[in-house]
Symmetry: C2
Subunit: 386 residues, 2 copies
C-alpha cells in the first residue's frame, strides 16, 4: 500500500424526507443560487421540497444545465449569481448539475481578472469558492461527495475535469425515492457509471489494499444485485437506497487510497462524448470491455480476483478473467446500455482516429495504471469496441 | 436502510514517514500539550520524529496515560495544560492515550464552573474543545478518526464513554511501521478489538445495508488474513498497513450507517474490566462468543451470512452460524487472546453477579440490537463465558 492522505469533510443527509435538512445547513437570510437542469424536479416533487426548505432565504433560480454541462451555460449562471450577489450555490440534480454548480461556485469567487475557463484543467489556483450544497436526483457520479467536476466546451471540443478541495460540497442530501421517477435510460446510465467508476480505481493489479478492494467489490456486487430489482420495480426503496449509497461510495474517496489507478476508460469516453454526443455511460460501456481485452495480460490477476469475488466464477485465472469481461458486458447490456460502437451507428475506424487525435491534442499520451497506453493504443482500443 | 446523517472531517496521513506531516497541521508558534503513555514511543523512534516535527512550537509533555485512561490522571494533564496555556492537544499512543487526549481537550475548553466528570456519559453539552491531533501507535480502537472516548474512574468503578463532534481529531497520523515494536499481547489485543468493533455494528440481523455489510466483511476478512502474517513477521509492511487501515475503517463511521447496532459486548466488557482489570480486548473475546450463543436465534441469519462470506463455510444457516461462532473463538485464541473467564482465573458466578449489578447501576438495562437484553440476560451471558 502506498502512502496517502485522506480528507472528506462533506456532510451527508441520507434517506426519505431528508431534503428538509437544507434548512439546517443554509442559514436563514442567505442568498442562494438554485441551479438545476430541466423540469424533472418540478414533476417529481423535489423542487417543491427544496423551495419549502429554503423559506426565509432569497432564492435566485438558474435552470437549464444539461448533460455534459457547457461552459457557456454555466457562465450565464455565474453572471446571474454576480448580479444577484448570491452567497450560496445549491445544485439540485445529477452529476452534470452538481459538477456545474462546483464550477459556478468557484467562478463566483475567482479574481475577475482571471479567465474562468482556466479553472477547468486546474490551470489557475483556486483559493476559495462559494459554499456549495447538493440535492442528488440521479445516483451515478458521486459528485455530491467529492471535489471534482467535468465541464464541456463544445466550440473547442473540450470535455475536461477539474479538482480542488475548495469545491467540496458543504453538504449533500440523498433521498433515494427520487429514483422512482427516473427515465429508464438514466437509470441504466447511472448503474453503469457507478460501476465503471469503481472498476477504474480497482481493476488494475494486486496492490495489497485489501479493505479498499473489498469495498470496491462490495459496491460492484451491490450494483449487480440492485439492478434487476430496480428494472422490475423502480420504487423498491431498499434497492433505491443501496444503489444510491453504492454510487456515492464509489467516488467518496476511500476506494483508491494507497493505489495506482486507471482512468483510461474515462479519458477515452470523454473524447467519444465530445465527438459523437454519446451519453457518458454509453462511452464507458463501449470502452471498458475493449480496454480490458487490450490490456488483458497486465490486468489478468485482478480480473480473476474480480471474477471470483463479484461474479462467483470458478476456474484458472485466464478463464475466470475472460469470463469476467463477458459478465461485465452482459451486465451493461442487461441494464439497457449497449456496448459496441456499431450499436450507436458509429464507424469505429473514424472514431478511433478521432479519439487518437483528441488525446494528442489534450496531451493525454500516457494513460492507464502503468502510464503506458499511448494515443495509438487508445486508437486500437476504440477500434476493438466496434 | 434507515435514514442517517454522516460527517467525518478528520484528515488522515497514512504511511511510512508521515509523522513529519504534523508540521503541516499544527501552526508554528502553537503551544502543544503532548500526551503519551509509557516510554515505548521513546524506544521505537516515534517520540523523536514527533519532537522533530514540532520544531518551532512550544511543547508541554504529559506522560503516563495508561490503559483504560483514568479520570484523575487526565485531570492532572488538564491542570498542566491550563497552567501552560496550551492551544493544541497532540495524543501519541493507542486508543487509551487518544481517548484521554479527547477528554483533556474538551475539559480545557469547558466552563470552569462545570465538573469535567460530566463530560463522560455526555452529561454536559460540549460546545468546543481545543484542537486535537493524533499519532497512532497501536491499531485497535479507531479513536484516531472518530469523536468518541472511553474514560475510567476507578474509585467509583465507572468505565463510561462520551461522544461529541467537538472532539473530532483535526488530523491523525498512521504510520504502520509502529507495529514492528508492539508487544505480542498488544498486537493480539488490537486484532481482537478491531474485529469486535466491526461485528458489534454488523452482526445483528439483515438490514438491507449491502455496502456497509461488505465493508464490514472486508475488514473482518482482512483481519483474519493479516493476523497469521504478523504473528510470523511483525515487520511485514503490507500486513501492518492492512491491519492499521482495517482497524481505522472499523470505527470510521461508515459500517453502522442506516442500521441498528449491538454494543452489548462492549457494555459487558467494560464492566469486566472495571471489576477485574482485564484488558479491554480480553473482555470482548470472552463475552462475544457467549453472547452470540445466547442470542443465537435472533442472530442466526446474519451469523450465517458472516460464516459464508468471512469464513467460507458451507451448509444450512444453522450449521454455518454455529461453525462461524467456533471459527471466531478459534481466531481470538490464535492471536493469543483467551476466550473463557476461567483462562483468566475468574469465577464466572461472581463475575456474572458483579456485571449484573454494575449494569443496573449504570442504567444499561436494555442492550442489544433489539434493546431486549436485560441485566439478567447479561448475567447469563457472562455465566456462559465460564
Amino acid at each position: 500500500m502506498k502512502n496517502f492522505s485522506f480528507h472528506n469533510p462533506n456532510r451527508i443527509h441520507f434517506g426519505q424526507g431528508q431534503i428538509a435538512q437544507i434548512g439546517t445547513e443554509i442559514a436563514a437570510g442567505s442568498r442562494v443560487l438554485l441551479v438545476y437542469g430541466g423540469g424533472s424536479i418540478k414533476r417529481n416533487g423535489v423542487y417543491d421540497q427544496v423551495i419549502a426548505a429554503l423559506a426565509g432565504r432569497t432564492v435566485v433560480e438558474f435552470a437549464g444545465v444539461g448533460a455534459n454541462p457547457e461552459f457557456d451555460t454555466l457562465m450565464r449562471a455565474v453572471a446571474l449569481g454576480k448580479e444577484k450577489q448570491v452567497d450560496w450555490v445549491l445544485g439540485v440534480g445529477g452529476g452534470s448539475v452538481l459538477d456545474g454548480s462546483k464550477f459556478i461556485a468557484a467562478a463566483l469567487a475567482l479574481d475577475p481578472a482571471i479567465d474562468p475557463w482556466l479553472i477547468v484543467g486546474n490551470k489557475t489556483p483556486l483559493h476559495s469558492a462559494l459554499p456549495i450544497g447538493c440535492v442528488l436526483t440521479l445516483p451515478a457520479t458521486g459528485s455530491e461527495s467529492n471535489f471534482t467536476g467535468v465541464i464541456t466546451r463544445r466550440e473547442t471540443q473540450d470535455k475536461l475535469s477539474f479538482k480542488n478541495p475548495a469545491v467540496f460540497p458543504r453538504f449533500c442530501v440523498m433521498d433515494p425515492t427520487v429514483i422512482s421517477s427516473l427515465p429508464p435510460r438514466q437509470l441504466g446510465n447511472g448503474l453503469v457509471d457507478a460501476f465503471v467508476h469503481t472498476t477504474e480505481q480497482y481493476l488494475t493489479f494486486p496492490q495489497e489494499a485489501r479493505v479498499q478492494d473489498r469495498l470496491a467489490e462490495g459496491i460492484l456486487s451491490t450494483l449487480t444485485e440492485v439492478a434487476p430489482v430496480l428494472l422490475k420495480d423502480q420504487a423498491d426503496y431498499d434497492a433505491q437506497a443501496n444503489f444510491m449509497w453504492s454510487a456515492n461510495q464509489a467516488m467518496f474517496g476511500l476506494v483508491p487510497l494507497g493505489q495506482t489507478l486507471d482512468w483510461a476508460t474515462h479519458a477515452i469516453g470523454h473524447e467519444l462524448t465530445v465527438l459523437y454526443g454519446l451519453d457518458h455511460a454509453q462511452t464507458l460501456a463501449v470502452t471498458l470491455p475493449s480496454l480490458w481485452r487490450y490490456t488483458f495480460d497486465a490486468k489478468r490477476a485482478k480480473l480473476a480476483q474480480y471474477g471470483r469475488r463479484v461474479w462467483n466464477l470458478n476456474g484458472d485465472d485466464e478463464a475466470v478473467a475472460h469470463a469476467a469481461i463477458d459478465a461485465t458486458r452482459a451486465y451493461f447490456e442487461s441494464v439497457g446500455v449497449k456496448t459496441r460502437l456499431t450499436d450507436y451507428g458509429i464507424d469505429a475506424e473514424a472514431a478511433a482516429a478521432g479519439v487518437e487525435a483528441q488525446l494528442i491534442r489534450h496531451k493525454r499520451i500516457a494513460l492507464g495504471e502503468h502510464a503506458d497506453l499511448t494515443p495509438a493504443d487508445c486508437r486500437a482500443i476504440v477500434l476493438g469496441a466496434a
